[in-house]
Assembly symmetry: D2
Amino acid sequence: MILSGPMESQAPVAPRLQVKLPIEIRFAETDAMGVVHHSNYIIWFEAARIAWLEAAGSSYAAIARDGNHFAVTALHVDYRRTCRFGESIYVAVALTLLRSRQLAFDYEVRRRDDDALLASARSEHVCVDLEGRVARIPETVLERLQQVGLRS
Amino acid sequence: MILSGPMESQAPVAPRLQVKLPIEIRFAETDAMGVVHHSNYIIWFEAARIAWLEAAGSSYAAIARDGNHFAVTALHVDYRRTCRFGESIYVAVALTLLRSRQLAFDYEVRRRDDDALLASARSEHVCVDLEGRVARIPETVLERLQQVGLRS
Amino acid sequence: MILSGPMESQAPVAPRLQVKLPIEIRFAETDAMGVVHHSNYIIWFEAARIAWLEAAGSSYAAIARDGNHFAVTALHVDYRRTCRFGESIYVAVALTLLRSRQLAFDYEVRRRDDDALLASARSEHVCVDLEGRVARIPETVLERLQQVGLRS
Amino acid sequence: MILSGPMESQAPVAPRLQVKLPIEIRFAETDAMGVVHHSNYIIWFEAARIAWLEAAGSSYAAIARDGNHFAVTALHVDYRRTCRFGESIYVAVALTLLRSRQLAFDYEVRRRDDDALLASARSEHVCVDLEGRVARIPETVLERLQQVGLRS
């Protein structure tokens, strides 16, 4: 499946709904530097945007069952501070762009006790069908996301 | 440990040594979309830059044993086409920036049979010591990387 | 480090404290069969025994900070039913053996809505120090585990 | 899908074809104990049996494309010695049981330089179709495996 292509030209949506997903750091997520391996943040971001969709009233499991996926087309991560097993952290996530076939999310990973910023990130997605072709976001999902994702 | 900070101002190094690491896609790396989950590319990039360092005569295992790590400070990935279990792919990697405390690598994931580009990426790193403090890249390593990483 | 050796001959401890850890299935944990890849259960088991230790008043992060780890020496898993992204599950865990240097945990993975058994498992562990040598479980930890792990 | 059920009663097949798969330990596979996290062995075992099937002339990618999977029903692992990033290891794998709907593989993880045994394991599998129902192993695959898996 071909994922790339020029981003559509509408203005980005101002975020409204923000979800904070607490993360229990798993020992398996650490590496021999003694800190969480950077690849695990990518999986946390996915968990966070799925929690966001759930909070927005659009279960990703239901979207997938209905034959669509939000394939990742780009990922940008800035790692500021490492974190360790035993630390309490969360991922804050918000929808920052919404088009008929595309969306993007912004993320921040923060420590729970002092809110220190550990990482910030952005992921871009295109809606695809089961054959991997670019598809329109299902109408009911799009409307739902526009409602909660547009600043009131 | 604090990883961020302004990048130093020297000009980037033109790449010379390029390494192509064949990847055997693991079934465990696929997801319910039927394709490789995007988080695994991050692990392939790491394997590729470690292969590059090995090819450059600087074993990362030795660097780590001597008390240094190249912590990831930023990651940028563009996913163009998905790939599936059973496909033959490789990661091409080159050093694209080298400073006394920082380096960066560029990556391309390509199919082996038709060289189709699946993803391109860049990772930025800072050298840290065992306590996670920013440190100079060990002199012998730096010299080695300058030799093979500078265009002749 | 050498992990093996004959198990010590004391009778196994009857379990008392049981902990049920809810698991949010991550999309990254699925595979191209459409179900959760079997390797992820191993990571859930670890998360469950760490939650058990926490509930027992013995933080694994503190044990590790004090210089000990419970290295896995054996693993036995029976997979009964697969599970999918979107399903609600939990891991029930209990301590089933406790010696001066060894412990073992039993696990069951169950669906939340009908309690259907998805998998059962057992992990065996030996206490090691930072050099990986077999070591006695720290006295305060051992006492704590004996109290909550012995049937009243 | 329901994976369990009594094993069929035929005698196990004596192994003939043995495959040794070299493993490049990935830094991402290490944990904060400084060694490879035990969950990664499970993924190496899968890579090893897929390499075995390939060597036996039965590509797992082709089996999957034709609509079958070898779901894991049981896993037994004995961890003897830990291993670290930078060490050279391999997994030796052989088919040890073959029935019309079931198979099992044995594994050994060994260091390359001194052949020291790091772990031994066994995995049991049932053939399933795309709906996850237990199915006969495709006839051509079964014949192929009987030929290479039976002691000459």
